[in-house]
Amino acid sequence: MTAQTIADPVMRVQGLEKSYGKLRVLLGVDFDVAPGSIFALLGSNGAGKTTTVRILSTLLKADAGTARVNGFDVAAQPARVRQSISLTGQFAAVDEILTGRENLALVAGLRHLKDPGATADDLLRRFSLSEAGSRRVSTYSGGMRRRLDIAMSLIGNAPVIFLDEPTAGLDPEARIEVWDAVKKLAHDGTTVLLTTQYLDEAEQLADRIAILHQGRIIVNGNLAELKQLFPPAKVEYVEKQPTLEEIFLAVIGGGDRSNAIGTTTGVHE
């Protein structure tokens, strides 16, 4: 189930290779991403997820292989690719010294929108940041910062959005906020390529999951297909203890959201 090709993909990656000196990071990565879907690139630290995203977003040149985004070749037509994408980095790349509103207005200005101020206000409202909009980002919590980061990448309505480890370092509540934002994005027709090292995140969000391991995609499929790779489930009765995350959310009053979290007891029924 690796190297599957689909009809009319919005992204097609074939035989991607990249080395840093003697360190070989990508050894031939292949995958297709369908328009309007959420595609998760799952892998441990150092698996090459960020390298892949950097190549797809024209920040890095591949040593071999091809990648097309929205019909454009990343090596031959980088400017056209940049018009088609929006990148949200691993470390929320927002300007700490500017206010949230100024960050949004700056990006809107750089995308040559008619009224950057109005775009900023609209996004602040959509991401529940209106009250914090006039405060400097350095005063924001991790979750607010990441929400602002995602809001910034929505400006200009790029058809493809890269989210590189969008919830790394966030507390459980903030993670759910980000998940909700990502789901809304895909619902509106944006294609999302998401990298993550959290299994439950891929499970929660992705239409397709590809596991990147030692420089290659070793598995590529939807959740049901991935589950079939494991030995058939046997029925056991296990008392389900609440996870610490569920307890945490219940105690702080986020209980209504706790059912949004994957409960992993390790048994398929």
Binding site: L59, K61, F91, A93, D95, I97, L106, L110, R111
Partner: protein
């Protein structure tokens, strides 16, 4: 270069300028070292240095101004380094904008921040007794040389800003530049120095620039120093720009 080069650069410059105006302490710390040097030399050592009929504060101000610029551009490197480290540099590089505008924004901001610092230092010098009968054209010439020197050192600062691996590394390159005026005609006449030191002092860029500015302030003919100073500034500018572009290409792959 896209059709939006100027508007993109202007938007990005607005951002970096806010970094300066919202942390005025960077201007203050830029100004502190040169002002402290000025106080030391005018009120402690200056009495023992024979500068002929020229008052010592008049004599040393040109060197102090160059020291101010050398100290100011370490913040240019620091701001650029922070952008690269935080990831916002990559965010901008992945957007459909004039990509070099990100660098130019830092360059323009560096010029503005250094000009503010220079005005403050000249203000302190005036309080300490600096006087010049120089006319508008002489002042413009001084401003022009200082601007050119700032531009040259700014592109020099872009190199560590893009390629340093630590904050300390990004700023450390400025220290030798800050001390370069000591081994020049900035504080003591070079004729008092021993042979090899004197040779170095008379052939390094600071001396010709200092002599040019000093002559302009004193309403005297600038002579050959003017051309040597310009040649140094343009030379440093071109070499620094080339290496900065190499560092930039390496960064954006």
């Amino acid at each position: 270069m896209t059709a939006y080069f100027f508007s993109d650069t202007a938007a990005l410059t607005g951002r970096t300028l806010r970094h300066v105006t919202r942390s005025m302490d960077t201007i203050i710390t830029t100004v502190i070292t040169p002002v402290a040097m000025m106080l030391m030399f005018v009120y402690v050592f200056g009495g023992a240095i024979d500068t002929g009929s020229v008052s010592y504060v008049n004599y040393m101000l040109p060197g102090i101004l160059l020291m101010t610029i050398a100290s100011g551009i370490s913040y240019t490197a620091y701001r650029l380094f922070t952008d690269v480290k935080s990831g916002i540099f990559e965010r901008f590089q992945s957007m459909p904008i004039a990509r070099s505008g990100v660098l130019w924004a830092h360059v323009v901001t560096s010029l503005v921040a250094n000009m503010i610092a220079l005005v403050l230092v000249v203000g302190v010098a005036v309080l300490m007794g600096f006087r010049s009968g120089a006319g508008v054209s002489a002042w413009l010439a001084v401003a022009g040389i200082l601007l050119l020197f700032t531009l040259a050192l700014t592109w020099l600062a872009v190199i560590p800003g893009l390629s340093a691996s630590s904050v300390e590394g990004a700023g450390a390159f400025a220290y030798p530049l800050i001390f370069l005026p000591f081994v020049s005609s900035a504080f003591v006449p070079t004729r008092t120095m021993p042979g090899p030191v004197r040779w170095f002092a008379e052939h390094q860029p600071v001396t010709s620039i200092v002599n040019t500015i000093r002559a302009l302030f004193a309403e005297q003919p600038v002579g050959d120093d003017n051309w040597i100073a310009l040649a140094w500034c343009v030379g440093i500018l071109l070499v620094a720009y080339l290496f900065a572009m190499v560092a930039y290409r390496r960064k954006i792959a």
